[in-house]
Symmetry: C2
Subunit: 439 residues, 2 copies
Amino acid sequence: MAEPLRIGIAGLGTVGASLVRLLARNADALQARCGRSLVVTAVSARDRARDRGVDLSGFEWFDDPVALARAQGVDCVVELMGGSDGPAKAVVEAALETGRPVVTANKALLAHHGAALAALAERNGATIGFEAAVAGGIPIVKALRETLAGNAVHRISGILNGTCNYILSRMELEGLGFDEVLADAQRLGYAEADPTFDVGGFDTAHKLAILTSLAFGTQIDAEAIHVEGISAITPLDLKMADDLGYRIKLLGVAERTATGIEQRVHPTMTPKTWPIAQVMGVTNAVNVMADPVGELTLVGPGAGGDATASSVLADLVDVARGVALHPFGQPVASLEKAERAPMQRHEGGYYVRLSVADRPGAAAAIATRMAERQISLESIVQRRSGPRSADTTGRSGEPVPVVLITYATTETAIRGAIDAMLADGYVTEPPQVIRIERA
Amino acid sequence: MAEPLRIGIAGLGTVGASLVRLLARNADALQARCGRSLVVTAVSARDRARDRGVDLSGFEWFDDPVALARAQGVDCVVELMGGSDGPAKAVVEAALETGRPVVTANKALLAHHGAALAALAERNGATIGFEAAVAGGIPIVKALRETLAGNAVHRISGILNGTCNYILSRMELEGLGFDEVLADAQRLGYAEADPTFDVGGFDTAHKLAILTSLAFGTQIDAEAIHVEGISAITPLDLKMADDLGYRIKLLGVAERTATGIEQRVHPTMTPKTWPIAQVMGVTNAVNVMADPVGELTLVGPGAGGDATASSVLADLVDVARGVALHPFGQPVASLEKAERAPMQRHEGGYYVRLSVADRPGAAAAIATRMAERQISLESIVQRRSGPRSADTTGRSGEPVPVVLITYATTETAIRGAIDAMLADGYVTEPPQVIRIERA
């Protein structure tokens, strides 16, 4: 029987407390499966007095997490403090500099400093496990780094933020507006007081940046990501999507295109038959299209102390078993600098919802602007939102919502067509444009 | 750069040929990700002359696959011959005896000899990779052996046979009978000329036996599996399921119960909202309920040369990277001998479809027989299958289908109730009984 793996935990929030409990509860199975025991020896957090529902008396306490990372009696450091810079970064660097493996759930840290930290790990013969940083309990990091190492990934797309999926699901199922559901989500603890990081798509972007690197063997490039949030989505859009066979999901998508790697986060029309379209509530899902495997979809809890602790523990099991791979699946020096595919050249279908003045010529003008840019329409739906009071021509004089679904075209073409429509004066409000992702 | 990993492939059917192509096509990425190249050096198959669409001229040819397994110039043996005994077993044993890692897609071999082969591997410092043996391209073996090694699995359930899911999907979507869809599936190559192994549930049972061992840390016990196939499922059952919010899937289920590990393969009513209920066609899916992660679902291709080759390659990547774990995640000697939970004590909901004589007292008799055994009914549906010619009492005299959905009860109770109903003489045909699995 090998020596125990002595674990130091920096950060004792929900995930840290779950991890401490879990290591105790599953100790026997872990020992059988790892050939050694996994024991917490040291902990660090801001407030020593806080009641976390776990007994910390057997662990050495560190006020300074960096001291924990360098302490005798710690073989492996778990960083659960969060934040892309400051103490979290210092802790991870200190551990790696001393050759200790690090396990972290810190997506912001990785999105901004992943390559530098991986290089530091390599230089010191250490590893960084970050299964918990993306999609909570879903083993997508391992799937990309190991299972699909022999595959060529074409596209990876995922529901990576439970808050957004919860909000969109409730808006769809209950016909409520964004603000109303957001307020409810905040009350229930599914959304932060300042929700921008989640609903603005930035949290999804951090996770996507990590997945892109793993999937394509490229350097992390979080700045390259086109980010749109969900706050402009209306119940009408969700209703129209439903009628047309789609669901609207906030997806992070990375795709290899002719012009480079495209990375984008935006509300997306997903066909209802696609597995990730069926994922509701706070659950996350990741879909990978790769050669030769085809399509894989992984569905599971995206957040929460226990699910995240499960992924932290998965990385600790690898450490205990001596599995030591490059953090991004290959040496940092071999990661390609990805060509950024410009968003203007994005190709795909579009959902465009227009508020159109209800007068002669409007439909013809819209159709002309699309045709001028070789945009083919899969469907056109015109729907009145309420009862109308028509004059004898059948027109109410009020704007009418018109929804267009296009076949594949380019971002440039669709934006050009919309600009032209706005110039024509028939469109009375800023149009809603939602990209369609096909399975 | 380390030495190349020299691979010998025994068996050159669809999967073998896919693997040879894939290793060539993704050679550069594999080298970057494994730190060494993966090269085929030797092959063996029954017919040397057959055109497989791949160039074998650079590989050493062996008429005797056992000789390949022992050959100089082979570091790792891929067994793709199939069959639970005979040459496949001899090849795997020969390789393991010489300390060479083995990668295999052979579920029958593992279901019958998995523990003995894993012990042989351990004694010789070798490994056995079998990601490809269960659920094709879905990385469920790795998920159980590595990701969930720190979790306690409660239940694992899966659509593990694409043929059955294809047949049930088409029966449901097109309202066709089993025989008709089976004949079509045979014509299209989705079902074998002798379909018993697939539609009888035996293929699913082999795969389930492997998953059970991985999930619960128990010795493989394929004989303990209760197996029912899909040939008795009718379009009426699928229609009734749909009306009641379910889909019928052939599931392999292993569950830890108070009386031991329950392993069963049978048509199952699955709630439509459950991710695996939404998987149609030849696609496979595996759902795991575990503590602390909660619920994970993995969906992907369950068969086919490319998807299976993808999983073979995933195991080869582990070998090339020096990842060497116990085949079942822990030493064979530490695998528990599972207590077999007797099927009679299975607890769950049931769908019972009866053909009931259309005369007074029938409904009362049925209800009484259920009540006598404390079986509570969630719903009762009575439906006529065709137009009826009623007499003045409203009765046609012809048998009427009656469907009961029960709350959780035991197999013993439900079978006892049905026997009593049959003895009462109101039930005119053998009843259809389908177990319900809740998410």
